[in-house]
């Protein structure tokens, strides 16, 4: 755990040193702020004290932002050879993967924490459903974990960052609406499975304020599955036939 933290801190520092973190946070706050307060169906337009507009914007922005964060994490190390340096230190492959996962997650949590003023503002101008807001934040964090898992797996596949982000987006698109599209056209068990794989229904049920273990398990298992695959890719060099 200690070494996971050392790796996570280094990665997080790199996000801030390379300006990626600042750019991401500014863009995230800008986009979510714009759509929550000023544009289209913002809070004043719908006239309710709710953070729903914020959650639906964050839902989309995180879909693009997280692969942009994770694309570098393993692909770059594969390319520069620093992965060899890291792996010959007394750490396991899991420590490396979890450290990187933790760094991404912390950055997302920092970005989300900076939107808390939205919550405070809305709460002061109307009667807000506090439970739904906290569930919404939890939903965003769970969804981010799933995307980070997918992103790290995509990054472990290649030594090219562009390939990595494209793969991450492609896998993401499947969970975002392609499974849903197929689900509508299939019946029976396959239809049900595809429907279960669709990310939106799980996210929406959480943001409505219902924490169902089914939804939590859904996000955690995507995340875990991605991490397991990423770890497998890292330890592939050890597999001999």
């Amino acid at each position: 755990m200690n070494k996971t933290w050392i790796i996570a801190v280094r990665e997080l520092k790199q996000f801030f040193d390379s300006l990626i973190a600042y750019i991401l946070i500014v863009l995230f706050l800008g986009l979510t702020g714009l759509f929550t307060w000023l544009y289209d169906s913002d809070i004043f337009f719908i006239g309710q004290a709710t953070l729903q507009p914020f959650f639906s914007v964050a839902y989309w922005t995180l879909f693009f932002f997280i692969p942009a964060l994770t694309m570098r994490m393993i692909a770059e190390e594969n390319k520069s050879g620093t992965i060899e340096l890291l792996m010959t230190k007394p750490v396991t492959d899991w420590v490396i993967i979890l450290g990187k996962f933790l760094a991404c997650l912390l950055l997302i949590i920092i970005a989300l924490a900076l939107t808390l003023p939205y919550y405070i503002t809305v709460a002061s101008i109307g009667k807000i459903d506090h439970g739904a807001v906290w569930c919404g934040y939890l939903g965003l964090i769970l969804m981010s974990m799933a995307y980070i898992g997918i992103g790290l797996f995509a990054s472990s596949l290649t030594n090219n960052q562009i390939v990595s982000i494209l793969i991450a987006l492609l896998i993401g698109v499947f969970f975002l609406f392609i499974f849903d599209l197929f689900a509508r056209n299939s019946a029976g068990l396959i239809g049900e499975i595809l429907d279960y794989l669709n990310l939106q229904t799980h996210f929406e049920s959480i943001t409505r304020g219902v924490i169902d273990s089914k939804d939590v398990i859904y996000f955690l298992s995507i995340s875990l599955f991605g991490l397991i695959l990423a770890e497998t890719m890292l330890s592939k060099r050890n597999i001999v036939d």
Binding site: S18, G81, T88, V240
Partner: protein
Amino acid sequence: MNIVVENLTKQYGTQKAIDSISFQVKTGEILGFLGPNGAGKTTTMKILTCFMAPNNGDVKVGEYSIHDHQEIIKSKIGYLPENNPLYYDMPVLEYLEFTAKLHGVESSSMESRIGEMVQVCGLNAEKHKKIGELSKGYRQRVGLAQAMIHNPEILIFDEPTSGLDPNQIIEIRNLIKRIGRQKTVILSTHILQEVEAICDRILIINKGKIVADGTPETLRKQAQGEEMLRVKIEDESNRDLISSSLRSLDSVAAVDPVADALNTFMVQSKPGSSSKRAVFRMCVQKNWTLTEMSPVETKLEDIFRELTT
């Protein structure tokens, strides 16, 4: 710590990068790995450092095997990989601290360890710069510093002096020599003088197999076989006469005139015998002036070329 390598084999696809090699390294020994490009030096090192698993065979570091105790072995090894990969966007000190922490260096001794490494590797002037801003030689020093930061018992260097200027090369060689007294050091290099200068033992590998193993002296003796003398005789203009006189000596097997030197001959003795005295006596007898007689040693370059082509 002793390292025992047994029947190590690594295959990439159908190609065998290393083919059933076995050797041992003892504490206090500096082992030089020599071989042409693609001979399997780097692959062997990657297996020793637990970066790759072998298809067959085992490596034992002390009593630990690379198959079962990777973590322990990794913590005892300091490794400088080929091409010296580093995080270019990190400052030198921060990077050294990161490696030290990963190696579990105690926070109480952290500062002194980093300070010592900066001192030893001559990084003092550059320690606040980002690694990416350093020249190749300084990056190499950072690579060496990170390998030694946790005071490991085993050091594995893949081409430690590549990219360094002649002064730095001598500094680094002295450093390795000094460290090598208490530790086990394995290094690979293309530079043959380097091996002669610092290594106690040489291992030459070619096409994945060990072709020579021994101290520089024993290798030279093995390759040399018969005594070879360079002889220069003056005061006699008839080359053929000298040549035939030399050839008539009992202990001489062959005589070759040296092309670009006047009256100079290469005299090869018969196996197990020396012709130095006989040549001298002959010159005294015939009243020739012997101005040069020197034994010719086989160079490491010749041994290397002979074994790997």
